[in-house]
Amino acid sequence: MSRQVTQPEKVRTDLIQTELPTPRSGGSRLRTAAFGLGATALLASCASDAPQDTWAPEGKYAQDIHNLQWPIFMIAGIVGVIVFGVVLFVVIKFKDRGQPIPEQGHGNALIEYVFIAIPALLLAGIAVPTVAEVISLNDTDNADCVINVTGQQWWWEYDYPVDASNNICGFAPTGDAAPIVTSGQMVIPVGAKVVIRGTSRDVIHSFWVPKLNGKRDMVPGRVHTWNFEAEQPGIYAGQCAEFCGLSHANMRMEIVALDDADFQAWIDNQLEPYQSPEAGTLAATGEQTFISQCSRCHQIDGLTNADGELVVASPEQFVWSGAAPNLTNLMTRNTFAGASWDLLTEDCRADVWEAPPAEFGAKYLEGVTKSCLNEIDLKEWLRNAPAKKPMYTDPESLADTDGKTRGMPYLALSEDQINELVAYLIERK
């Protein structure tokens, strides 16, 4: 009886072993997963295009943080390896093999003292330089350049005040000094201690440009200061680091560092008086379209209407934060819509971003030319901004904000109007 039962079972087992793939064991899956995870981490660490790499400082303050975090990371790593090694040794060495439980001991003063002293010393060794560094990073006195930074959903405004000596960032403008207001890209002089005075018009944001310094929250009603100093001319990317609503991921910023001569040229250019487009051109029509469609929220300094009166934007009546980007010199910037999209085409952008430090300033100051304009994204934005960047602009759901939008609404512009606006805006530099 038993032979009759076991015989077929044996045959079946043979079949499985010869014709079907062997099921993978749990250990094998674990090894594969660990290998996959490790390989992913390795590949990610090899990313060549990482403009927000916290491990690649390019300014004094980021370098100071780097100098602190490296040894701490090393200490933590060594401690981690030792702890895991000891645990692994104990697990293997004393695995339950049915042996009798060894004699239990209680209290060993020497071991306890050592195990208290080692972590205490390690923590003290980490705490002392950390506290000193935190204090040093927060020393925002004696600035060479002060810039007011204001966050709102979902873009940054930068305004450059005129100091007691009638200078801007320590540079005397060639013409009359007046505050400069811009957005998207904050332009600073290389090698200068730049202090930003940051705040917010709506919710808490956080200003973070990893290659130049750590994060600093921008809180409504408070002014928080923070330092930046760039070693080389170039563009340094960052993004809002405090969740601030629907388009938080699209709230980016860039710091552009220029050498002294280029920064002086940038200031002078920003303060140049407004130039109306040549009469009869598409840009001139675009100017009127701008006044009728855009100037309720967006300011262009010096723009006048048909009666010769200054056109003054009133964003506080239409936008919940009370502000919209000043577009006076839009095409001197490389980005728009919260620095989320480039005004330059891909090739032109690469030409500026990858320029050697000595050539960077000239390329940046060239601004956006007609041949380099990224018309596709700009027109998509003008066609339907909320479709490109998620924002609270649906008129039927604005009861909580008294009908004011959070972001740029859909304006139902015709293709002709969009072409006119692009022709007008390309001259704003």
């Binding site: 007011n148 405004e157 100091d163 007691a164 505050p179 400069i180 018009r201 002014v223 009133s314 506080e316």
Partner: protein, 376 residues
């Protein structure tokens, strides 16, 4: 094989499943299907429990156990909980025509009374052992009853005490009342701690008297009403009443002359030697001109280092609507700040400087001191 109760529940569950299937296929209604499926699941569960419990009857093979079984016990004893349910239902009805709060309180009473009644009814027939039944009830209800009762008691004490405090005619009386209550609490606490032999009855009686006195006091104070509380004028009131002059007002008399915990301000403005100077973060120098962001609340800390009282004022030149009406206050100011005093002023300017012909400036009422403000 199946007991009578089990047969009823199994049949009901089967009917509910069939109805749910028929309804779902024939009608396709979501709500009806959900309801029928829910009923079917509930009935199936009950049927399963009942099959296991055999209608709470002991096995037919154990006739000796009949007398001790739960099913053999008398029906549940009379209960006061239905009284609470009735009271709640009445309050709910009253609430429907008077006040929403009554309705909510009535609803809570109905739910609480029903639950307590159900649990009492169940526990008194849980087994043939009354001690076990009482313990079963306590184990089920105590974790809920005790915290809720504690919270209600605390709310009554706090609310009654707050009515008493608000009803007392003067500030001195409130201080005295607080001192008396605190002394009583301390005295009773000390007595209990020292005299450890105090009986629970004595202690409970004392605390009950205190509680009743407190509630009575609260009721009386609530009926009498709160004393008249004089509102403190703010700098906003001063601006609204156009009292941003050098003259001292009633609000100025009561204004605080010191500012606590105001860090991270936009600027500190100091009035000294007939001049206004601004200290802004980032710069070491003092400025005769200040840049403020448009449409953004800016907190300004004002220090009066002159020998006279001084009030910081700024004309805001607000934008106007289509009817020419200003969309915000025309000016804001601090209260009159005494020599050596400080005050905070929050300023929101919604127009850029180039729009306002005369520009923006902080001034000191009754003085020529001026500090230009630039709004980009």
């Amino acid at each position: 094989m199946f007991t009578t109760g089990s047969k009823l529940l199994i049949g009901s569950a089967a009917a509910a499943w069939i109805l749910a299937a028929v309804y779902g296929i024939a009608q396709g209604g979501t709500l009806g299907s959900i309801g029928l499926i829910s009923a079917a699941i509930a009935l199936s569960l009950l049927a399963g429990i009942n099959v296991l419990a055999r209608d709470s009857n002991v096995s037919a093979n154990e006739p000796a156990g009949f007398g001790a079984s739960a099913a053999a016990q008398s029906t549940a004893r009379p209960s006061l909980w239905p009284l609470l349910v009735a009271l709640g239902a009445t309050t709910m009805t009253l609430g429907l025509v008077t006040n929403r709060t009554f309705f909510t309180l009535g609803l809570i009473a109905v739910i609480a009374g029903t639950l307590e009644w159900l649990i009492q009814g169940w526990s008194e027939r849980a087994s043939g052992d009354e001690t076990y039944n009482a313990r079963a009830r306590d184990q089920m209800v105590d974790p809920l009853e005790l915290p809720v009762a504690g919270a209600i008691l605390a709310a009554i004490v706090v609310y009654a005490f707050s009515r008493v405090m608000l009803g007392l005619p003067t500030k001195t009386a409130t201080v005295a009342a607080f001192a008396v209550v605190a002394t009583l609490a301390l005295g009773i606490g000390t007595l209990v701690a020292v005299k450890r032999g105090a009986s629970k009855t004595t202690l409970g009686g004392t605390l009950s008297i205190v509680l009743v006195a407190l509630v009575a006091g609260g009721v009386v104070a609530g009926l009498v009403g709160e004393r008249e509380i004089e509102p403190h004028h703010t700098t906003g009131d001063l601006a609204a009443k156009n009292e941003c002059t050098a003259e001292e007002t009633e609000a100025d008399e009561k204004a605080s002359q010191s500012v606590a915990s105001k860090s991270n301000v936009t600027a500190e403005i100091t009035y000294k030697d007939e001049e206004l100077r601004a200290k802004v973060p980032g710069y070491n120098d003092n400025f005769a001109q200040l840049t403020l962001q448009r449409s953004n609340p800016s907190n300004i800390l004002f220090h009066n280092e002159s020998d006279e009282h001084a009030r910081l004022v700024i004309e805001l030149h607000p934008a106007t609507d289509d009817n020419g009406q200003p969309l915000g206050p025309e000016r804001v100011c601090t209260a009159l700040v005494e020599s050596g005093g400080s005050q905070l002023l929050t300023v929101v300017i919604d127009q850029p400087s180039f729009v306002v012909e005369e520009g923006f400036a902080f001034t000191v009422a009754g003085s020529d001191a001026e500090l230009q403000v630039v709004v980009p």
